[in-house]
């Protein structure tokens, strides 16, 4: 079993991350997800950048705790989580997660779980910047509903 969690302060290439994750595959299934910054914001119509503030080791620790929970909850052999911090421009990757398991269901569920919890619990403060304005954003009601699916 292996877990790799990292906080990327610069642009990263999700294809490279997936290639690395699949380089020595021994499992029967790999599921990955990549989230990208959109050009249209929630509060600002056209954004120049999304800024994700993190707090020293606490942000990384929150990501590691979520990944550890995923490994314990699902029958996955490996998972990787990469999350950007800092200034992210539209079309740049923000987050990449991948899970590997013997059969597909566990990998699908682990990737889904990782994203739901990262979206609501990872220690980031996110703001949109653009059109001469800036706006802090919090998880949506939908994000909380998605995350609550795993409470049972």
């Amino acid at each position: 079993m292996s877990v790799q969690v990292s906080l990327a302060t610069r642009l990263f290439e999700p294809a490279d991350a997936l290639r690395s994750f699949t380089a020595e595959i021994e499992e029967g299934a790999i599921v990955s997800f990549t989230g990208y910054a959109r050009a249209s914001g929630r509060s600002i119509k056209q954004i120049d950048a999304m800024v994700l503030e993190s707090y020293r080791g606490v942000t990384l620790a929150s990501m590691k705790a979520i990944a550890a929970d995923a490994m314990e909850r699902f029958e996955v052999e490996r998972c990787v989580v990469i999350h950007r911090a800092g200034r992210i421009e539209p079309k740049e990757a923000i987050v990449f997660v991948a899970a590997a398991s013997t059969h597909r269901r566990a990998a699908f569920e682990a990737a889904d779980y990782l994203m739901d919890r990262l979206k609501t619990e990872a220690v980031f403060w996110k703001r949109e910047e653009g059109m001469g304005d800036r706006s802090w954003i919090e998880p949506t009601g939908r994000d909380y509903v998605d995350a609550a699916r795993w409470n049972s």
């Binding site: 503030e53 606490v58 619990e121 990872a122």
Partner: protein
């Protein structure tokens, strides 16, 4: 008002604060009032996310040299940084001491790394 205080700069950058302690809901004057001196020291408190928009990335506040609870720290911040008042009233704000999120009863000591976390945005 549970207490009033009068502060003046002391030696070695420390604050000496004369605190007039009174039992709440009792008369201000009279035998219920005692006076003592408490050595105080200034600490930095980092503000994260939207909190920094109002107060800057770091604010200073004074706490007893012997330390205080997180709850007392909040009261100190309220008094000394009224511009943060409304934001600090958000009960979802968490306090991080030495890189761990703690509750209101936890202790804060001089030299601790203290930060206030508004609700996280998630990733």
């Amino acid at each position: 008002m549970p207490f009033a205080y009068f502060a003046s700069r002391g030696q070695e950058s420390r604050w000496k604060v004369r605190i007039s302690l009174m039992i709440e809901n009792q008369q201000v004057e009279g035998p219920n009032m005692t006076t003592t001196e408490v050595a105080m020291e200034e600490i930095d408190v980092e503000l994260c996310g939207k909190l920094a928009d109002c107060g800057g990335e770091v604010v200073k506040t004074i706490i007893p040299v012997a330390g205080c609870t997180v709850e007392a720290l909040f009261k100190s911040l309220h008094r000394q940084h009224p511009q943060l008042g409304e934001l600090l009233s958000d009960r979802r704000i968490k306090v991080c001491v030495n890189f761990s999120i703690v509750d209101a009863n936890a202790s804060v000591a001089v030299g601790d790394q203290v930060a206030l976390f508004p609700p996280v945005s998630g990733g």
